[in-house]
């Protein structure tokens, strides 16, 4: 009760606390006056009287402190005085402050943005989709074409269904001056099934599916803003899509990226313009083969996933009587998404792990650094205690110092996070539309940084305050010695972790180098030209062939061009002919079939290892020929010499004579071998004989020739469709992005971990040197050379580094297998990496030991002995 009353009084008097302070001063003043008066009256001299009064009173400062502690003046002074003191200390110890802020902000900033990426990739539910956990993707042959889909909608009772075509790139606008947009064709049930509401206008509805109605299109928020300047009057206007007029009926909400988590710009009704949605430009609505659709379903109310699975199972056994088809299964959307983004997601998880670890050891080391600083300020603290400062006051000051540093780090962390995020988006453009750093997560991030900073500061602060008020400086030794074993363990672990991350970075550097070199063609010397003939209304295969031939003839004879070639697909383009089955497809490799002109190999720079290239003599009337790459040759005919033999390669085709073996190329993704089978364009299979790509090797370098070349080709192709000219290298770069991101992030993590570990060593040895100053002084006095002293310190550090390195290499070898999936062309046990990375880490770590060693060598014996 009494205590309560005291606190209440203190709280109420808080606003008057300042006046209280003055009041006390006046009261003490009067006290001394009264006492001096008495003393004078007793016959003392004025000086003597004053001295006696002071002596009788005791330590004035102590009384003041106690008084203030009771009045709440402390609190006011915390805000002003503590802040001023702290700011002074923080700015004075510039190096330590900057190091702390840098390490903390980098650690927190990168961790936060990488965790944001993991969230987007793996955990955040698709935006604008109602209860996504009830959605499933249906796999199985029958769910991948329209006939099958229609059949399913009639039979399935447990699910609502919708069909979506694979995204395709179409030309928006005039054929000659258009832009490409990613398009998906969907059934009218799509939007209601997902539960997505339009931002403007309406989504596709059953009325849009009626044949003969004006084709409708829904566009994405991104396209609406980029292309149409966010014009609200856009709904109802017409645009050209692949040469066909469409009415824009609505705009999808921002950040809606469907379930595939890919950026789609337009959605068209599947049944109205099926030609626009298939890769071949054919109407596939009546085709009961192929795999151009994805069927998705929503579990009806009260239906479990198991129920739906059972029904699909029954349906597939029923339907597949007679024909061999893959069974129908339903997979929750969340799972399919995890599979689809697996590489990015795996990478992100590794990065998240890496950055978190770095952050953790960064905090540990900052705690250590602060402890060193605190130890260095022993004398300052001791003086403060003598002057009557309380433990709370000391702790408070240390805390405010820490708060200052942490707050600065928190602000810096937000910027680091924004920068990292921009960088990640640069490398993973598919996710660029997502806001990773909304105000809420920014606040969270700042709080996180502040928390990390404070947490790493509280322990040393509390320790210092305790040690100092205990009054004996030698207790520091006891406290730190007790901790030194744990601390050494932490240091060894840090070096090991830094090494693991550095080895990871090394492996990534090697992988990225391997994955972007020896592609089997020369991306830096070739330009890829695609022409969207559909946009100009050229649809039939023979027409498309003629149109491309006309362009090809003009381009080939241009003085800008060294050589040019037509192909049904260029390197790195997705190949539609993959579905043509080879003879031994069931267990053997499945080749990518492309039809090309004779000059193809010269143009792309792909070498013919054996045999010959195609010639103009390989035409429709000559015997069929083919070129295979060496990987495919070894896979299909392991023990035979394939050259000049007639081989049955394709189903239901006569045997084809293999005339050449080409070097292996990298396929649609850089990490996979392509397994190419080349046919001459003149002998191409019907239905796959129209070229899709024109490859051009300019006489000049690509960079120099590109503008002129592009203008020339656009001129040639006027009226024939939308032309896209791009250096092959830019396609390679797109593919290489995630590799480079991995390298960059692992490299950054590794570098940070190395810096942090070096800092840790520096801190611990510095602390050790501080504690042993007297010992070194004695040794130096007794004749030890400074070099010997420095050697002692270095040896202590060296031992830790070696232990850490051994541990790190061991752990890296153990972890290697799980990293293997993310690597290319390099084993986790790569010798070069396992030698270079440890030497690098060791060098950096020893650098961290050097400063304390030098400091130890420079100890002045006299000073050292006087300190104790």
């Amino acid at each position: 009760m009494r205590v309560l009353r005291r606190w209440l009084h203190r709280l109420l008097s808080l606003p008057r606390a300042g006046r209280r302070d003055d009041d006390l001063a006046a009261e003490l003043d009067s006290h001394f006056q009264l006492h001096i008066d008495d003393n004078l009256r007793a016959g003392m001299s004025p000086d003597e009287a004053r001295r006696a009064a002071r002596l009788a009173f005791g330590p004035v400062e102590s009384v003041r402190e106690q008084y203030r502690a009771r009045t709440g003046v402390m609190l006011i002074r915390s805000a002003a005085g503590l802040f001023r003191d702290a700011l002074r200390t923080v700015t004075r110890q510039r190096l330590a402050t900057v190091t702390t802020i840098a390490v903390l902000s980098c650690g927190v900033g990168t961790t936060a943005s990488v965790l944001g990426l993991v969230d987007v990739l793996l955990f955040r539910p698709p935006a604008h989709v109602r209860s996504p956990e009830r959605l499933v993707a249906i796999t199985g042959d029958a769910a991948q074409h329209y006939i099958g889909y229609e059949d399913l909608t009639r039979r399935v009772t447990t699910l609502d269904l919708a069909a979506v075509s694979r995204p395709r790139v179409l030309t928006l606008g005039d054929a000659d001056r258009g832009r490409t947009v990613r398009t998906q064709c969907v059934t009218a049930s799509y939007a209601p099934l997902l539960g997505v509401q339009p931002a403007l206008g309406r989504m596709l509805a059953p009325a849009d599916e009626v044949r003969g109605v004006r084709p409708a299109a829904v566009i994405s928020d991104g396209l609406w803003r980029r292309q149409f300047g966010g014009d609200r009057g856009l709904v109802g206007t017409e645009v050209l899509l692949a040469g066909v007029a469409h009415v824009i009926i609505g705009v999808a909400p921002p950040e809606f990226r469907a379930l595939e988590m890919v950026a789609v710009d337009t959605w068209l009704p599947l049944t109205v313009s099926p030609e626009l949605c298939s890769w071949t430009g054919a109407n596939l609505l009546q085709s009961s083969s192929g795999n151009w659709l994805t069927t998705i379903g929503r579990l009806k109310d009260g239906i479990s996933l198991d129920r739906a699975q059972q029904e699909l199972h029954t349906l597939s056994t029923f339907a597949s009587a007679g024909q061999r088809r893959s069974p129908l299964t339903a997979t929750p959307i969340q799972d399919t998404r995890r599979n689809r983004v697996s590489r990015d997601a795996q990478l992100a998880l590794w990065l998240a792990g890496g950055t978190s670890v770095v952050l953790l050891i960064a905090c540990t080391n900052i705690a250590g650094l602060l402890a060193v600083r605190a130890a260095a300020r022993r004398r300052e603290m001791a003086v403060r205690v003598q002057l009557g400062a309380t433990r709370a006051r000391l702790f408070g000051q240390l805390l405010v110092e820490n708060l200052l540093v942490s707050a600065t780090a928190a602000v810096a962390a937000v910027f680091v996070a924004a920068g990292t995020r921009a960088l990640l988006q640069e490398f993973m453009p598919a996710w660029s539309g997502d806001r990773w750093l909304d105000p809420r997560s920014t606040a969270l991030l700042a709080a996180f940084a502040l928390g990390a900073g404070l947490l790493s500061g509280i322990v040393p602060a509390a320790q210092t305050a305790r040690v100092m008020t205990a009054g004996a400086s030698h207790t520091t030794h006891a406290v730190t010695r007790r901790r030194s074993r744990i601390w050494n363990g932490i240091l060894v672990a840090q070096v090991a972790l830094a090494l693991i991350l550095s080895i990871g970075a090394g492996l990534f550097v090697r992988s990225t180098w391997a994955v972007t070199s020896n592609l089997g063609y020369e991306p830096d010397k070739v330009v890829l030209v695609t022409v969207d003939l559909q946009a100009a209304g050229i649809r039939r295969e023979s027409e498309r062939r003629l149109a491309f031939d006309a362009i090809f003839d003009r381009v080939r004879s241009s003085p800008l061009v060294a050589s040019a070639s037509l192909a049904t697909s260029g390197p790195l383009q997705e190949n539609i002919l993959r579905s043509v089955l080879p003879r031994r497809a069931s267990d053997g490799p499945s080749p990518v079939v492309s039809a090309v002109s004779p000059s193809y190999f010269v143009t792309t720079g792909t070498r013919i290892l054996r045999g010959r290239s195609f010639t103009d003599a390989d035409d429709r009337n000559s015997p069929p020929v083919a070129i295979v790459d060496s990987t495919l040759a070894a896979g299909l005919w392991p023990d035979e010499d394939v050259l000049d033999r007639c081989q049955v390669v394709l189903v239901a085709q006569p045997c084809i004579r293999i005339v050449g073996v080409s070097e292996p190329r990298r396929g649609h993704t850089l990490a996979q071998a392509s397994q190419d089978l080349f046919l001459p364009l003149t002998q191409a299979l019907s239905g796959h004989s129209a070229p899709e790509a024109l490859l051009v090797r300019p006489r000049d370098s690509v960079d120099a020739a590109l503008p002129e070349l592009a203008a020339f080709i656009r001129g040639v192709a006027t009226g024939r469709g939308f032309v896209n000219v791009q250096p092959l290298e830019s396609l390679v770069n797109t593919q290489a992005r995630s590799w480079r991101l991995g390298t960059l992030m692992f490299g950054a993590c590794g570098a940070m971990a190395v810096i942090v570990a070096a800092l840790g060593l520096f801190v611990s040895l510095q602390l050790a040197v501080q504690q042993r100053t007297a010992e070194f002084g004695v040794r130096l006095t007794l004749g030890a050379s400074p070099v010997r002293i420095a050697g002692m310190v270095l040896r202590q550090g060296l031992w830790l580094v070696l232990a850490g390195a051994a541990l790190g290499v061991g752990a890296a070898l153990l972890l290697g297998d799980s990293l293997r999936a993310l690597l290319y062309g390099v084993a986790p046990t790569d010798m070069l990496t396992l030698v270079v990375a440890p030497s690098f880490v060791a060098a950096a770590a020893l650098l961290g030991c050097l400063a304390p060693a030098v400091r130890a060598a420079r100890v002045d014996p006299m000073v050292a002995l006087r300190t104790e």
Partner: protein, 115 residues
């Protein structure tokens, strides 16, 4: 060194009771006078740091046992005078009773043959 250990809780409690009792018998006093009076009452056997009296006075004031106001001393110096409140008087009586009881009990231990 005073006979009683300076910062102990016992000393704190004793000092507060001494302050209360002194104010009860002497009426309003300023800090210096109070300290001197306590010394005199103890027969100069208690040599306290005068400074320690001020935090104690503040504590008692905050607890409502005393109140203070500025006034003039007998030799015309400005000084802050402390007066016992009604609650303070009650508290002085309570604590006196408790101390007496405590002393009687202690006496039984310290001088067993007395009764």
């Amino acid at each position: 060194m005073s006979p009683v250990e300076d910062k102990s809780a016992v000393w704190q409690g004793t000092l507060s009771l001494m302050v209360l009792k002194t104010l009860a018998t002497m009426g309003p006093l300023h800090g210096y006078g109070l300290a001197r009076r306590i010394e005199q009452t103890s027969g100069n056997r208690l040599a306290l740091n005068y400074g320690t009296i001020y935090p104690m006075l503040l504590k008692l004031e905050q607890e409502g046992a005393i109140r203070s106001e500025w006034g003039l001393s007998e030799n015309k110096r400005r000084a802050k005078f402390y007066t016992l409140t009604r609650a303070g008087r009650r508290r002085a009586d309570d604590e006196t009773r408790q101390w007496s009881t405590m002393n009687e009990i202690l006496d039984l231990f310290l001088e067993p043959g007395k009764r």
